[in-house]
């Protein structure tokens, strides 16, 4: 999977984020995407080849693997990362639209400094504040949803060593053994912990933005 494109897009958004947003982005790239690409994909690499069932019945192993792993952890994490990164694109689009508007006004003769337009950091105020805050809100929702999906699909966060399978065409209840269960549990818990940290960062950022705007309003009122 090519995560470089995502890095390119999110790098642009980074300029207009708060400090907490920048920390979140760093955590996302180093502790989630990098771990996924460098380590986790190899751990899950042989998950079907080394899924062994105590039967000679052809097809039983396939069916049992499919029954216990409807969607692999790796693919779920990739989906999670994509969904969690997507709200930042909303912010990027809004910033691009704002710049486009300014350019249009500049072309129509209004005096706007073009250098400032290109390089100036756009402050999070007004409609951009709403876009940014809703993007963080959606990020939190997506993180929570995926954490729940993991819990529901795999009955907790621990990878079992032995699963008992009686799906057709297995003739009876068959013992199936999962490949590398301890290593997989370690990485599942690690990714869960980092998701939790990211969620905390998002909550902190949301609180920070709300408090900042409240203080500004109260200052305007006085």
């Amino acid at each position: 999977m090519d995560w470089g494109t995502l890095q390119g897009v999110l790098g642009g958004v980074n300029k207009h984020s708060t400090s907490i947003g920048k920390i979140w982005l760093t955590v996302l790239f180093i502790f989630r995407i990098m771990i996924l690409v460098v380590a986790a994909e190899k751990v899950w690499g042989d998950e079907q080849d080394d899924f062994v069932c105590n039967t000679l019945q052809p097809g039983c192993r396939n069916v049992c693997y499919d029954h216990f792993f409807p969607i692999s952890h790796i693919r779920l994490w990739a989906l999670q990362l994509i969904f969690v990164s997507t709200p930042a694109l909303l912010v990027a689009m809004h910033v691009a639209y704002t710049r486009h508007e300014k350019k249009r006004r500049f072309r129509n003769g209004e005096k706007i400094d073009i250098e400032e337009l290109k390089n100036k950091k756009i402050h999070i105020r007004g409609p951009l504040w709403w876009t940014y805050t809703s993007s963080i809100f959606f990020r939190i929702i997506f993180e929570a949803v995926f954490m729940y999906v993991f819990y529901y699909m795999y009955d907790g966060y621990q990878m079992p060593r032995l699963v008992k399978c009686d799906a057709w065409p297995c003739p009876n209840t068959v013992d199936c053994f999962v490949s590398r269960p301890t290593e997989k549990t370690t990485f599942t818990i690690f990714m869960l912990a980092v998701s939790g940290i990211c969620m905390m960062l998002n909550l902190a950022e949301l609180c920070y933005l709300v408090i900042k705007i409240c203080m500004k309003e109260s200052r305007k009122a006085t």
Partner: protein
Amino acid sequence: MGEWSFLGDFLEKVHKHSTVVGKVWLTVLFIFRMLVLGTAAESSWGDEQSDFMCDTQQPGCENVCYDKAFPISHVRFWVLQIIFVSTPSLVYMGHAMHTVRMEEKRKMKEAEMEAQQNKNGGDTYYQQKCSVAEKETKLSGWDEAGGQIILRGSLLNTYVYSILIRTAMEVAFIVGQYVLYGIFLETLYICQRAPCPHPVNCYVSRPTEKNVFIVFMLAVAVLSLFLSLAELYHLGWKKAKERCSRSYKASPSTAPGRLESAPQADRAQMYTLPPDFNQCLSSPNGKFISPFSNKMASQQNTANFATERVHGQEDAAGEGPFIKSSYVESPEVASECAAPAFPENYFNEKRRLSKASRASSKARSDDLSV
């Protein structure tokens, strides 16, 4: 190695703002750990499970025995080690960037204040400059004139803590590796775990090659640990020296104190580069009132003089923690706020300082960008 680019890009930025020992540590990390792991170790461990053979036909026995023998593969363990050991440097970089940003904001505010002041008249200029300079001395870890990071104050503390945490992580992972696997891998592993019906002989794939890499990675980890400890010792010594010089500076006679700090700062300039030509030409909004009447000529003279001095002093390097890459002008600033009268030789000291070079050392946007 392309997979490591996410971390590599961040660490490149840390590289710019580290001490000499820190740069060596980062190079060791990149070459002897990341590169070796990505290219050699991965392929050596590639068939670790497929070629893990057990002397049994019991289905599932090989799986469970492999899982018991290797709860976490060496390669993944080293990946986690590299990431956790690099993380404190990222925290330091975050702090450094924050310092840069605060400084940029402060400079913008100063420029605005100045612009207003110039409109209203220059009477209160000295007073303003005094308050600005006072704020500057309070602002830790930043050299206003230099425009770069100096390891001082809270930034130095962050750097020291990051090295301490890095050292602790290194020790934890070395000990963890020893606890999990010992030092060497045995060829034969005897496994007793359900559903294996009895103790079963299992044979590890490529044990000798793996042992070579295990010993290599352990040695590099120990080397990194020593580098971190050396850096800590170096910084500790520097900090003690700084405290001594600061307590000397706080003595009643201010002029000798400034003289004391200027040569010290000069010694620290051995990492400086001569400013680019166009950066010499651009000048800020006349922040510094030089006592000299002909500004540009004296600036060029002082820049040339300082450059020669810097190159001459490069060999006398030893002051590690000062990583700023331009000339200090703080004595000049402080002097403006105090009395205008100072001894003759202090003027000679000041001539080294250049307004042009100050312009070259504004915090550039690419320096600590994320």
